[in-house]
């Protein structure tokens, strides 16, 4: 790493607001920058600077960048979590290899957010993952998130999984209603493979 690159990476956490902003925008193009951006996000409190950090990671659009963002999906800070979700949605295709693991994560919040990332994948990739989740998921809110995404992207191949999910939660009227609405939206349409 050159001296200038080292200064940029150091500025991510130790600079003034102006310096951190400039470093955030430059770090994605520097060796080791992606990991440094991910680490620096943990200590960055300014929402505008966080935005720049996440944008640089999105622009990098690599599995390294995905891995740098992923820890923040578990953050206790809702803004950081949302920033991570937006960044991952912006590089959903790159994040795709990590999604099956995220959908099986022990943390229900992570599973719920992973459903949202699937919204930005082609239907043919996302629908089977969401259907498998619906078949085993025990948390109503996670199911509801999957149902909402399927309402936008799913085809008729999702209908059996939706029906089975509704049958598993007969005492959850909101989920049953959501499944009914989603099924109505996607029912009768040929499978999409966009």
């Amino acid at each position: 790493m050159g001296g200038d690159d080292g200064k940029v990476l150091a500025a991510l956490t130790s600079g003034t607001n102006d310096q951190r902003w400039a470093a955030a925008r430059a770090a994605g193009d520097i060796p080791g920058g992606v990991q440094a951006l991910g680490r620096a996000l943990s200590s960055e409190a300014d929402p505008r600077l966080r935005e720049a950090f996440f944008t640089s990671l999105m622009r990098a659009r690599s599995l390294e960048a995905v891995d740098a963002v992923l820890p923040h999906l578990r953050s206790d800070d809702a803004n950081l979590r949302t920033g991570a979700l937006d960044a991952l949605r912006g590089m959903a295709e790159t994040a795709a290899p990590r999604l099956p693991i995220l959908l099986s994560d022990q943390d229900a919040d992570v599973r719920l957010l992973a459903c949202e990332i699937l919204r930005d994948l082609p239907s043919a990739e996302a629908t089977p993952l969401l259907c498998r989740l619906l078949e085993r998921e025990g948390q109503v809110n996670v199911c509801a998130s999957a149902v909402e995404v399927l309402a936008e992207i799913g085809g008729p191949e999702a209908l059996p999984a939706l029906a089975a999910c509704a049958a598993r939660f007969p005492n959850e009227p909101f989920l049953v209603f959501s499944i009914k609405a989603a099924s109505a939206r996607i029912g009768g349409q040929p499978p999409e493979h966009g």
Partner: protein, 277 residues
């Protein structure tokens, strides 16, 4: 299109582009869907929607084009020009060192109608126009349209919103169908190429008081839109304003800016206190 299909489409469009259509616009939406299905050879809504979601061959841009007026003309969305002279410039001049130029950027400027409109509007509607050094820059990624902008020759349709007295004052007729912007006015607007997602291209343009960036961010994917928003942020002086197209919202793109509601327009401001970038 069934009710469910319409809702599905509307949800997707809002999430992807920020364009919001309710039941009242259903006929309008259906007509354009039918047009695009015909153009793409899609035989069902489902197959067309899959194409749209996957952005096959740039279908999102094609679809958005069907909803927006791509034709550019003088004094388009002139409520923003009204806002410029009623509110934005007054705000910008507060605390601005005397003698410092007022800088306005039109990006993308296409064939020049917008930056020339800004120049004409200021001359016609801003009493202080002669008291300030005003720089107007028009930029576009397409160098072909910039050549046309520099030439400043327009047909009747481009001039349709200008009254005959304005045409007389700022144009010379070169044949039955075409008018050229007068040399003085052409000389008051500078043009340069720029790619909004390349900070190496945006930064050299410096900081502006007001940026008009209409109907372009809507076409970008999420990452490019955020990069462009950050570049525009850097190109604004603290306290500077950005005007987007009527169907666009910066709040959906980036938290960097603050929303400002004026009588004539909603615009976005780089906060004064955040003097970074």
């Amino acid at each position: 299109m069934t009710e469910e299909e319409f809702q599905r489409l509307c949800d997707f469009l809002y999430r992807r582009t920020g364009m919001l259509f309710g039941e009242a616009k259903r006929y309008y939406v259906e007509r354009r869907i039918t047009e695009r299905m015909g153009a793409t050879g899609a035989t069902s809504f489902a197959s067309y929607f899959a194409r749209l979601r996957g952005d096959v061959r740039g279908e999102i841009e094609q679809f958005v084009n069907a909803f927006t007026v791509n034709e550019t003309y003088f004094y388009r969305e002139d409520h923003q020009l009204q806002c410029l002279t009623s509110d934005l410039l007054r705000e910008r001049l507060k605390g601005k060192p005397r003698g410092e130029a007022v800088r306005i950027w039109s990006v993308p400027c296409s064939t020049g109608e917008e930056p020339y409109s800004i120049a004409i509007w200021l001359l016609e509607n801003w009493p202080q126009v002669d008291s300030h050094d005003i720089e107007i820059l028009g930029s576009d990624i397409d160098t072909g349209v910039l050549e046309a902008a520099r030439a400043g020759v327009y047909g009747k349709r481009a001039l349709m919103r200008l009254g005959p007295e304005l045409i007389e004052r700022y144009f010379e007729q070169i044949d039955d169908e075409h008018w050229r912007v007068l040399a003085d006015l052409r000389g008051s607007v500078r043009f340069s190429p720029v790619n909004l997602v390349e900070s190496a291209e945006t930064r050299p343009n410096g900081r502006f008081d007001v940026i008009f960036c209409r109907n372009v961010l809507i076409y970008f994917d999420d990452a490019s839109r955020r990069v462009a928003a950050e570049n525009l942020y850097e190109n604004l002086a603290p306290g500077g304003f950005i005007c987007l197209g009527h169907s666009e919202s910066m709040s959906r793109i980036s938290p960097l800016f603050e929303v400002c509601r004026y009588a004539d327009a909603i615009v976005y401001q780089r906060p004064l206190e955040a003097a970074r970038g």
